[in-house]
Amino acid sequence: MAAIIKLENVWKEYRLDGDLIFTALKTINLEIKTGELTAIIGPSGSGKSTLMHIIGLLDQPSKGKVIINNKDISHLTDDELSILRNEFVGFVFQQFNLINKLTVLENVMIPAIYCRKKTEINYKDNALKLLERFGLGSKINSYPNRISGGQQQRVAIVRALIMNPKMILADEPTGNLDSKTGKEIIELLRRLNKEENKTIVIVTHDPEIALLMEKTIKIKDGEIV
């Protein structure tokens, strides 16, 4: 199966005060294929967040290549990267990162607002269908701080799905949930992978979650081990 994203010899370095250089990632080579269910696992400070930012197109490597659709994207401008991010990745965060002053439906619609492609797709209809499917049909006009954590994370998943991205990138999606709700969320993501062949990457420090994935990438001290 074709790789949807490929990292070749990726380095990420940060310049600290003075002339100190901190290397967050070294010689990272990895490949995520369409339909894979992958866990990126590592302790805090291992560089997994930095890796997630690069895979999620939020950041660019200091050295190396990030290849999407056979194209190196490590030299795209900020605007090009933003547009690609909008179409290519759906994010699910530990903190849910919903905007509290917007309703559930409005939150789900945010990525559609920034869509640059001319399209016939009625995102609002899609959003309503997805919300219904995820058991949030009665919550569309609620505000995120008025619904439970599990519901908030499901809203975030719907938001990640709305643009029908190639990849869902979940950063510690269970970190702010109790274990039961956390399991439900992981199950939901697994189902999306199985039933709809969605490519899902979960970044976690929890080995139990990693065990539920098809593939695990372990990272330690900025390197894949």
């Binding site: 939020l58 950041d59 900020d78 605007d79 909008n86 905007i99 619609m109």
Partner: protein, 400 residues
């Protein structure tokens, strides 16, 4: 939901959540726009008022005044300079195109008293032609006549307004005696009121007319401050002006006097007036800048409060410009709302003062107020918005 609609809606939503703050921020622009629009409205009203005064003088009226056109334009006309005499009047009078001529001496701030009451008036010493030249009409009694001139009679024409102030009513004032600048005069006629003279200035109703000979008492050198004449046919105005110019050039230097139509004088008054008004409006505009700084301040606060939201939006695909426009729209809307409210309030005030002063708001003021307030929103919003747009999405989304 289209993009523009979305950012407008998002901005309005934020305003509704911070009503107090929004109102106070808007207030700065409101006050600025209010003062600018009001000053413009008052300026326009005053201009209209002056124009009406001039128009009421009738057409074909030409003035001969001391000073060059340039000094008159700068408002320095009457002060110092030459005076005209009977020879000048006689020479101009010989021109066939002139229908009537009136030499004028004037004394402002003179006291008139009768009946135990007194008023401050402007004495106009002239001949029998002055009242018709000014298009004034007699209400009771008669005009100054040639015989009054010959006898240097101490007779006076008063406006109805002045008479009513002194005598309570104008019914039996003709024939009464008044004390004018220390001398006794007999009222021979009452002139219909023409209005004007509001704002503390001297209007036609504050004028009292006597013969120029009687005016010798305060004009011992027997000279005139100005000569007014009317041209019979409008077509002849320019040639007549040229002829008068050449007659007077023989006695005076070109820059010592001017021959002007009332429209030219009106233009010069307007030009002085425009300068004063522009200066006032410019001063008022400072408050707009202060209002703009208020907006900038609150926009910086707003950006700081919403760093996380900015991060989320960036992660979900918003470009730097999306964020920039979002905040810029907010600051423009804030400023624009202030502009609209200020304009509304200005309308209200103008409507209220309408009965005492002909102030009005023209379309230019409206466009200027709304345009300037929007531009202020852009200028003072651009730095905070740029700050928001330049945030790194990674740092922003982690911000707590």
């Amino acid at each position: 939901m289209n993009y523009l609609g979305f950012i407008i809606k998002a901005s309005l939503f934020d305003f509704s959540r911070n009503k107090g703050r929004t109102f106070l921020t808007t207030l700065g622009i409101l006050i600025g726009v209010l003062s600018v629009v009001l000053l413009m409205a008052l300026g326009l009203g005053l201009k209209k008022y002056i124009e009406n005064q001039f128009e009421s003088l009738g057409a074909n009226l030409v003035y001969v005044m001391p000073g060059s056109k340039k000094t008159i334009m700068q408002g320095g006309g009457m002060i110092g300079g030459i005076k005209f005499d009977d020879k000048d009047v006689a020479k101009i009078k010989r021109l066939k195109t002139i229908s009537s001529i009136a030499p004028v001496v004037a004394k402002s701030g003179a006291e008139i008293s009768a009946n135990g009451k007194s008023e401050i008036v402007e004495i106009v010493g002239s001949n029998e032609n002055i009242v018709p030249i000014f298009n004034l009409e007699i209400e009771r009694g008669r005009l100054i006549e040639k015989s009054d001139m010959e006898k240097s009679a101490k007779v006076v024409l008063l406006s109805k307004t002045t008479v009513e102030k002194l005598f309570g009513s104008s019914d039996s004032a003709v024939g009464e005696k008044v004390d004018l600048a220390g001398q006794t005069y007999k009222i021979i006629g009452i002139i219909k009121s023409k209005g004007g003279g509001a704002l503390g200035g001297s209007g036609f109703d504050d004028h009292v007319y006597i013969t120029y000979k009687a005016a010798y008492s305060f004009n011992p050198d027997k000279k005139y401050y100005a000569i007014y004449f009317k041209v019979t046919d409008k077509e002849d105005i320019n040639t007549t002006k040229e002829e008068v110019q050449s007659i007077l050039s023989k006695r005076y230097d070109e820059d010592e006097f001017s021959v002007m139509e009332q429209t030219e004088i009106m233009e010069s008054v307007n030009s002085i007036f425009n300068i004063i008004n522009s200066v006032l409006v410019a001063i008022a505009a400072i408050s707009l800048v202060v209002g703009g700084i208020g907006i900038m301040n609150i926009m910086y606060v707003s950006v700081t409060e919403r760093i996380k939201e900015i991060g989320i939006r960036r992660a979900l695909g918003a470009t730097k410009n999306d964020i920039l426009y979002h905040f810029l729209m907010e600051s423009v809307l804030l400023s624009f709302m202030g502009g609209v409210l200020g304009l509304g309030l200005a309308y209200l005030i103008v409507a209220l003062v309408q009965s005492i002063f002909p102030a009005y708001i023209n379309i230019q003021s409206i466009l200027l107020a709304l345009g300037v307030s929007s531009i202020i929103g852009v200028i003072f919003g651009v730095f905070p918005s740029k700050k928001a747009a330049d945030l790194s999405p990674i740092d922003a989304i982690r911000y707590e």
